[in-house]
Amino acid sequence: MNGNGNHHTIIALVQDKPGVLTRVAGLFRRRGFNISSLAVGNSEQPGLSRMTFVVDGDQYTVDQATKQLDKLIDVVKVANISDEEIVSRELALIKVKVTPATRGEILEMVHPFRAEIVDVGAQSMVIEVTGSGDKIQALYGLLEPFGVLELMRTGRVAMVRGQAEGRVSDDLIINYHGDGLKVNEAYEVGSY
């Protein structure tokens, strides 16, 4: 659960079209919503991508953010999954200074985090760690005294546990395929 506090996790299924990221980012900026992390990538469906946002703000903000996202034509589905049972992960690459004296200590330290050493150089190594933001922060804190040369973090990706897909609040979506709505000709400026 991460709906408490000020962080909310929103996932969206979007069409892979040029400019979709600009639309989303522009919307957040324009309406004064704060994105603390954003991750985008292909989904299991061709032509569609998934985005995970972590949005800072109160319930009003996240409610508006979700609805405004839903209004974007290229956004197919949005769900605020903050109150669902979710799995969420971030990944970080940490390049840390090493000397022959500190190498062993660092390796030991990294072990309980189930982090991997993905590159070893003469004076540095790169550690890959996956998990919650807190876990990454904790490892970073331990490595800092050795001298962190570079930190690269992804945004959070999240998924609802079990069978359910991220539930789209039903009252927002009514199935409609563009048929049978009034067109130009059907419009008449009626009287009372």
Partner: protein, 564 residues
Amino acid sequence: MELTGAEIVCESLLKEGVEVIFGLPGGAVLPFYGALSGYPQLRHILVRHEQAAAMAADGYARATGKVGVCTATSGPGATNLATGIAGAMMDSVPMVAITGQVPRPAIGRDSFQETDITGITLPITKHNMLVLNVEDVAPAVKEAFHIARTGRPGPVLLDIPKDVLVGERWPFIWPDKVNLPGYNPPGEADAVQVSQACELINQAQRPVILAGHGILISHAYAELKELAEKAQIPVITTLLGIGSFPTGHLLHAGMPGMHGMAYASLAIDNADLLISLGMRFDDRVTGRLSDFAPNAKVVHVDVDPSEFHKNVRATVPVLGELKQVLGQMLPQVERKTHLDWLQHIDTLRAEHPSLHIRQTDELLPQYVLRQLSDITEGNAIIVTGVGQHQMWAAQHYAYKEPNTLLTSGGLGAMGFEVPAALGAKVGRPDKAVWSIAGDGGFQMTMCDLATAVENNIDVKFAILNNGTLGMVRQWQDFFYDKDYFATVYSGNPDFIKLAEAYGIPGIRVTDKTQVATSIRQAMATPGPVVLDFIVKQDEQVYPMIPAGESVNEMMEEPIPQRVM
């Protein structure tokens, strides 16, 4: 047969039932014009400034309910459209704007007249598309119109590079469906929401209906009238909702908000239920939110769920298309009389006669509008600019029919009065169309008098000429120690000579006694006419609730001036 992209645009416009396009050509869009000249069914109206093209398309759309279409070239042509597009966005007006773009290989190189118009218009369009392949043209046009007119309407911009318009050919295949999986405008409302809403309505002792633009957009006037009459609920129409309910109907209770009638704002203040239909609680309506309708529950019906709880918390939000929703609600709404409540509103009306015009020999702008209302019997289409004259036009003209007050509400764009009136008349040639202008706004778009002349568009242009940016002066008067800095227009042209220069009649009115005859004279003159009403300069719009304040801080016309 294979067609060019430009020809495909024309064929697609025909499929969409387009009759008229407002625009002005330039290099990048010229291939489209080249094709357009071969399609006489698509009437092109050449404007003098692209802002007028967008605003004329807007006026056409508001007057007819059809999608307004405008076009411009890349770069400056496209950016000139922007104000008009933004206005359509704010006021939910269906519009399709087509811009030419530099050829694909030139994109991204700061080429001559290249601007990223899809980037620029991202926040002021409902959607926009850069069309990069000739085979995408027809689907893009179909999607653009579909998005523009359905759900909560709005402007859609199509940016088409020159070489997509003319470089290749492709068979014209009109898609029978749009492929927009992310776009699902609601229709009927959820039955539970409807019954909860009706329960609140049936329990209410002091209900008011706030009727907004949504009623006009979804043509729900008959349903609104039935609802109001069945349950005897007073109807307050927002600025953009004016015309959704007949002015003068016994249940009509005026306009709310900053310059609304005092009795309307007080009725909201006293109400125990707001039934908000297709309106969005703009700050000009609500004033300070914490003091707005303090005793009321809120039933909010809208097609756009992001409006729920955005400004005012809805007790019961009802998502759906208004006409259908009201149709669902009507059978569940009980007949009521609300005698005490209606009597209370009548008392408010008597105690706060916001619309009385004081007796004076001076030429008051309000008087001009009242005369116009009487003489045209409330049957004209009134297109206003922004400022004092706009508020007086909203207050003093007795609108009888839907879509007869066209005004830039959300954006508040001066200069709307001239081009939007042209668009309205083109769309509704059967109606008398009056452009009500301030001398400030008129001068922003008066170059398009030429468009009226060239196309013989019979609009009467009435300038309420107070020699100043009146509404700003009013704020200076009330809130800036009468420091009339930068609001006096001392170098105005002679508008009668200006009319003459365009070859159309001009009538100057300086005296109250000439008002009626000049209006009749203009009506009897075929084609465009300019009327220059030299009105009293220091006249304030009352009532006024200062920005960010509440009904408790409402200023009404000073008592000595008020004649009952």
